[in-house]
Symmetry: C2
Subunit: 203 residues, 2 copies
């Protein structure tokens, strides 16, 4: 505290935190549970951290929950530069590749704002989430996928209507990944959503 | 997994997570950094978790950062029933007491939705935050107070204009508490905001 060096570390940190504020402006495809508006990526990140904590017992593999929470806290920051890519949006391989490059550049820029001793370990956690290979990352990805399903169920269809999604498509794009990290959660959630897909002729 | 008992725990958890979604509807006094709209308590909670992590080095006392993040993840949930009380709003002792009772009832209801083995430790973490006695809680409270200051500075005054706040009032209501948990942060932030208070005749 009080040295010039500390002061410049603090300045860098406050600049990063000011940038992070912009994640509240990134709109997602999902609506809130009450259907009143679209969700943004900052409040989504908060919500799925709570999901991860509350649902940790249902993980397929033993977890380091603190690490999962760190992953989810950081996971969408790159959207400040790269935007959110809706899971049910049309994605061709070239566009996917361009998006991945944009997200890498965003991670370079954003984590690069921090003192290196802090930004580099954070970047490593984001890389681990993206790679989706460790048990923590697989569970974190499951949680990221299942929360919008619960919102759609609450608000009467949400992005399933907007993107004209049927149950086999949802199984392929969402269910398969939720199942990897939290199979019991997917079994139960699938039972809850099936009536909606049946009633709307989307089985 | 798969037993009736597990299934009912999962049902309780999903109900709690559906309720938690409503925190996104609670509007705070602060505007976002770009001044485009008011902040909500869910995205605020996300932002201050990032603040806590990034600023942990500046804590007055040694921390359990994982516990601080858990505190901040939960700390505003009671606002779903009790609403947000703006720090610069007029508060008489009777209203404060009524609000505290409303928040206690909200904590009973919300954490009571979870299986007891999970809801009770979460409630204990919320109680610890409210009591503001442990080092983790004191730091968490500091962080909760300093983030709106940074937003106001970004958006040109924000709630300081709306509530007609001068610098001595800010020192009493905010600075004193930030100083308890993160004195170096308050010194630096105070230097950054003083010009605004000087220029607007609010010293
Ligand atoms: Ca995303």
């Amino acid at each position: 505290e009080g040295t010039g060096f500390d002061c410049s570390r603090l300045t860098a940190r406050l600049l990063f935190l000011n940038e992070a504020d912009k994640l509240k402006l990134i709109t997602r495809a999902s609506m809130l549970g009450d259907g009143s508006r679209h969700e943004n990526s900052a409040e989504h990140s908060w919500h799925i951290m709570l999901y991860a904590w509350v649902l940790a017992e249902h993980s397929a593999a033993p977890l380091d929950l603190d690490r999962v929470l760190q992953m989810l806290l950081l996971h969408d920051l790159v959207e400040i530069d790269a935007g959110d890519a809706p899971i049910h949006g049309v994605i061709d391989p070239a566009a996917l590749e361009a998006l991945a490059a944009k997200e890498e550049a965003a991670a370079d820029r954003l984590f690069g704002l921090l003192p290196a001793g802090q930004g580099m370990p954070m970047r490593a956690i984001w890389d681990e989430f993206e790679a989706a290979e460790t048990a923590d990352a697989v569970f974190a990805k499951s949680i990221d996928r299942v929360q919008p399903v619960m919102l759609n169920l609450l608000n009467g269809g949400g992005s399933w209507v907007d993107y004209d999604v049927n149950l086999p498509q949802l199984e392929a794009r969402v269910g398969k990944k939720v199942n990897l990290g939290a199979p019991g959660v997917w079994r139960s959630v699938r039972d809850r959503i099936e009536p909606w897909f049946r009633e709307t002729g989307r089985l």
